[in-house]
Subunit: 358 residues, 2 copies
Amino acid sequence: MTNPSFDGWTCPIPLKNYPKIVMGHGAGGKMMNDLIGHLFAPLLHNDLLAQMGDSTALDIGALNPGGRLAFSTDSFVVSPIIFPGGDIGDLAVNGTVNDIAMSGAKPRYLSVGFILEEGLEMETLGAVVTSMAHAAKKAGVQIVTGDTKVVNKGHGDGIFINTSGFGMIPDGVDIAAKNARPGDVILVSGTMGDHGMAIMSKREGLEFESQIISDTAPLHEMIAEMLEATESKGGIHCLRDATRGGLSAVLNELADSSKVGIEFEETKVPVNAAVNAACEMLGLDPFYIANEGKLVAIVSPDIADEILGVMRKNEYGKDAAIIGCVVEEHAGRVVAKTAIGGSRVVDLPAGELLPRIC
Amino acid sequence: MTNPSFDGWTCPIPLKNYPKIVMGHGAGGKMMNDLIGHLFAPLLHNDLLAQMGDSTALDIGALNPGGRLAFSTDSFVVSPIIFPGGDIGDLAVNGTVNDIAMSGAKPRYLSVGFILEEGLEMETLGAVVTSMAHAAKKAGVQIVTGDTKVVNKGHGDGIFINTSGFGMIPDGVDIAAKNARPGDVILVSGTMGDHGMAIMSKREGLEFESQIISDTAPLHEMIAEMLEATESKGGIHCLRDATRGGLSAVLNELADSSKVGIEFEETKVPVNAAVNAACEMLGLDPFYIANEGKLVAIVSPDIADEILGVMRKNEYGKDAAIIGCVVEEHAGRVVAKTAIGGSRVVDLPAGELLPRIC
């Protein structure tokens, strides 16, 4: 949890009269203006957001003459709102930053849409928006347009946040789920399952030897470094952040989109000891658990070691590992080699493992 | 309500096994893929959405060499989901289309984020998404990226929808809330209060002589016609769609942003007879009631009549009217001349008049 007094923000008088969100804060009148003017604007301030129009005009002419743009959206309904290692605010910023970055784009501008439940503590909202501001600053993106709605008590759950955003894709970069080809090498940028198990442990009140912390983080700089290192050679074929459904969902989607088989070795996938212990206790498989600061990369074999080195130099990739490869056989299927030398098909998760994880 | 069999969509077998939304539909696994593949994809289909990546890559190089882009977001929490004249689906498309258009931009691409409540009928979701598809087609925009979350029963309210989107602003167009100047003329594109009173009458089970219908509509083509008619002259200074807080909220915001006074004549503002009657019965002022297909324009006096003519030729502007003017006096304040010859300050609404109107 970040410090709620970011940029010196403390709940000002016009908001102190309403220590909790009421329906009027979403009604388009004076109370909503107070909320925007005294909470959102000072915390998220930038010249573009200050336009305060129905939309925000952005001069993107200089960003990329080639003109390919990556556009993404994500809604966040995580419960609880605040969890070990983060909260719904930084999760909402990092989530969309990462989705944009997975195309190779540099994320630039975000929108934010709040759906607040009547009765939400104003201080909680202040803390979450502070956290968004920190995350945006850290990721180098600007929140340039927004919207606030309020729903009656019992028809929401504290805070839901949508972030949408975009960035420009550098000329010549072509990263897509359909680009994996036999012989390619599969890497992960770090340990699997941290975010999901952090939420789970908080929600269920579980205690482990060492606390499990969400890995929520912006990954676009690591991706920029990977692209830079291989600029003249190309060879980064697929990038995905392993969120809902975890590693297994990502590998299945990539195998399906590229019409290739995927094989990986279970023992090569990094998993934190505490996450492993928690998964064993709860009967969960860490390969199905959500991450919020980890990516899967599929690259051509000649650059795999170089990419691994670049990842490991970045603070969010220090545990990066090569875990497997793309094969021609069993197209659309993911097969894991187990610790005891067998192999098993790793399917898409069916339905719900951990609800409201992001 | 639109026909749920749009494009021949009927609830297919994999979804029929789940006549209602369950938590697994938001968990990132097979059930979510079924929902996307059998409901969202066939209804909203286009080549860009079919990329199905974390983000969608859009080639915008050809859209505008000048490079100014209008970016907007809106969440929709309207209750009830289906109301006379529309539903949350077309409202969500038209709302963001209009927000983008108010900068003079041609809306092009939308994202959609669904927050579904466990227990929502699959057929209702199908009907709403069908309605979105119709509205997008009518407005000439593409829904190119999306996200679906599911929250536990009792922690949402059927369907919440976020739409974000953008379009390119033509070179030389400069429409902004701060651009009104003394002497300018104020126009509205039609009757005030229809959407809000349609929701209100449905919600409260009120019956009037003639049914009140929401005015939800895309306004970007009317704006394009207004811009085209005045291309060489300029003169369109401010455009706003009069949603939450109605006409009075828009006029107050424009007066405040432009640091000018605003005067209008109450009798010149078009209001449907049924809306007027309903407002009188409920003690509401139609100038504070939300619209979803009406705009306020502030233009230089030399083009006012021409703009009025252009608006009236468009299907969504046939009741357009000149209602007042911008003055140097009482900067930041909106004053109405009443029917009996007096004048009154028209303030921003304080808080809640009609909650969850959009």
